[in-house]
């Protein structure tokens, strides 16, 4: 059998292999259109995120591994207390897959912007947090995510390959894509593609780059983080998330724990919702395109005159 090419195929293959897998959705079917073919193991509850999570907990109590789907902001926020209380507290193996996280909600507006999702999900003890960079990474990670007996949150992406991946997926393991000492760029999710573009610009300008694709934010790959933090002249945390509670916070916690004080440039959404638009325009507007990332890093390395 050929390797699954889409998320839906990957999930269907897992469901065929594992009787415990049930697929649930709060009427968000865009990426799982064919899964009603699973019959009674496909459960669409309608636009009821809270009930979906409670029911997923009930199914998990009976030995199932529910893989549930909803738009990331409504999944993590509207159903938050159900996730925390019914899934997190008893540590049930419910897999929460959030659609259009980060910048991927594009022009929907702030209601749909899941840019605090990493903060709230990693606040739940035992919750694993996965942020694949592209569809290939998501598909290759899915069997391990479903096999884990921990609750998990997955930032969904259907993006084309961000880079040529060099390491197979493993829970809690980062992928290091460039190993030079100089600027350490730490990132996750679809912004990896922009980070790789920035790396090329910087390399052409003679700036050595260490590029880390975190993949899993909880549990985080601490050795990979420490490697990146210790060697760097400048550490860059790059993420489509509010400044607080995401990767920057993880790096800050790691630095405190290990008594490190590197110079850190935070490239994220600060404390503002982003201007709704198509993705390329959002990236440009937020200064998160590859070119702008490179410029901002160069600025941080060699500050221009204040009057310029």
């Amino acid at each position: 059998m050929s390797a699954p090419a889409t998320y839906e195929q990957a999930l269907r293959a897992l469901a065929a292999e594992r009787e415990d897998v049930v697929v649930m959705t709060a009427e968000n079917r865009a990426h799982i259109r064919g899964l009603p073919a699973l019959g009674p193991r496909f459960i669409d509850v309608g636009i009821c995120e809270q009930t979906m999570i409670g029911a997923a907990a009930g199914l998990a109590l009976r030995g199932r591994t529910p893989v549930v789907h909803a738009l990331a902001s409504f999944l993590t926020l509207r159903a938050f207390e159900f996730i925390r209380t019914d899934v997190g507290l008893p540590r049930l193996p419910v897999k929460l897959v959030g659609f259009v996280p980060g910048l991927l909600s594009e022009a929907n507006g702030p209601t749909h912007q899941a840019i605090d999702d990493v903060a709230v999900m990693r606040a739940i003890p035992g919750m694993q947090v996965f942020c694949p960079a592209d569809l290939d990474e998501l598909v290759s990670a899915l069997p391990a995510i479903v096999a884990s007996r921990a609750p998990a949150y997955v930032r969904y992406t259907g993006a084309a390959p961000a880079v040529d991946h060099v390491e197979p997926f493993a829970i809690g393991k980062a992928e290091v894509l460039a190993h030079e000492e100089g600027v350490s760029i730490l990132t996750y999710g679809p912004l990896l593609r922009e980070a790789e573009r920035a790396r090329r610009v910087l390399t052409a300008r003679g700036v050595p780059v260490h590029l880390v694709n975190l993949r899993t934010l909880e549990p985080v790959d601490e050795p990979a983080l420490l490697d990146a933090l210790r060697a760097a002249e400048l550490v860059v945390t790059l993420e489509d998330h509010f400044h607080r509670g995401g990767l920057h916070t993880i790096v800050a916690e790691t630095c405190l724990k290990h008594r490190l004080a590197p110079r850190v440039l935070a490239l994220d959404l600060g404390s503002s919702f982003f201007k709704p638009a198509l993705l390329a325009d959002v990236l440009a507007d937020q200064g998160l395109s590859g070119e702008r990332i490179a410029e901002r890093i160069l600025d941080a390395l060699c500050p221009r005159e204040a009057s310029a």
Partner: protein, 295 residues
Amino acid sequence: MNALPQALAPPRPAEHAELEALALRVREHCLRLATGGGCFIGASLSCADLLVYLYSRVLNVRPDTLGDPGRDYLLLSKGHDVPALYATLAELRFFPVERLRNHLKTTDSIYWHPNRAVPGVEFHSGSLGHLLAVGIGIALDIRLRGGRNRVFVVLGDGELDEGSVWEACLVAAAQRLDNLVAVVDRNGLQANCRTEELVPLEPLPAKFESFGWSCRTVDGHSFADLDEAFSNLPARAGHPTAIVARTRRGQGVGSLEDRPDRWFADFTAGEVEALVRELHGGGPSRLVSEGRMVR
């Protein structure tokens, strides 16, 4: 169900008189938990008959079949009435009665809301409006496996203010879960207020029916009524069933009955003894502790 030696099964009350006697013992345990930190005594006394009846007559679950996937499930969604659940479970030997003395001790898991570390508790609660959804998941899996067992979810009437209850009602009907039964402890009081004065729920049976459920209304303190209400379930094939049990907060102890200020209580040892005497037919208790607003 797994075939288990009959000798392991605890005796289950059969006659109404036995149920009355068991309910009296359960109420006495509840009163004895309402000191040294206290408990939600009003809510506990209101659902004591329901829980005694369900565990004695309805639920296909025993201490020795707690791990059996074919057992019936009871989920206590309102949660704060857990003294009645713990007392019932203890009396039916799901755990030793002596364990009730661990109430509020950090060395055990017996506190103001249910913890599933205690044998017989299927899931924790405390946050209102969760367990009907959890019950849906359990009922879905039972159906997936072709089981004939059922899921009973005990809801408070105040809890029905939560939108998630009605969301779950819609989903349960959409999923045609006729192995799911909601039991509403309809005592007419929520925390400090009368439900009909704060957020009116009536006509409650019509609400359930309009959500695609069958609904039966009964006297929640009459075992004869409960016999009728819980026979021939589901009430309608392909539909979940709601049983609205009309009850009284504090039932069984006149000094505590239907009192908005006696939801939670932390009595003195002397008051508890007076209340126990009252429960067993003595005169009204002289209560020095003031009624409390908790929420």
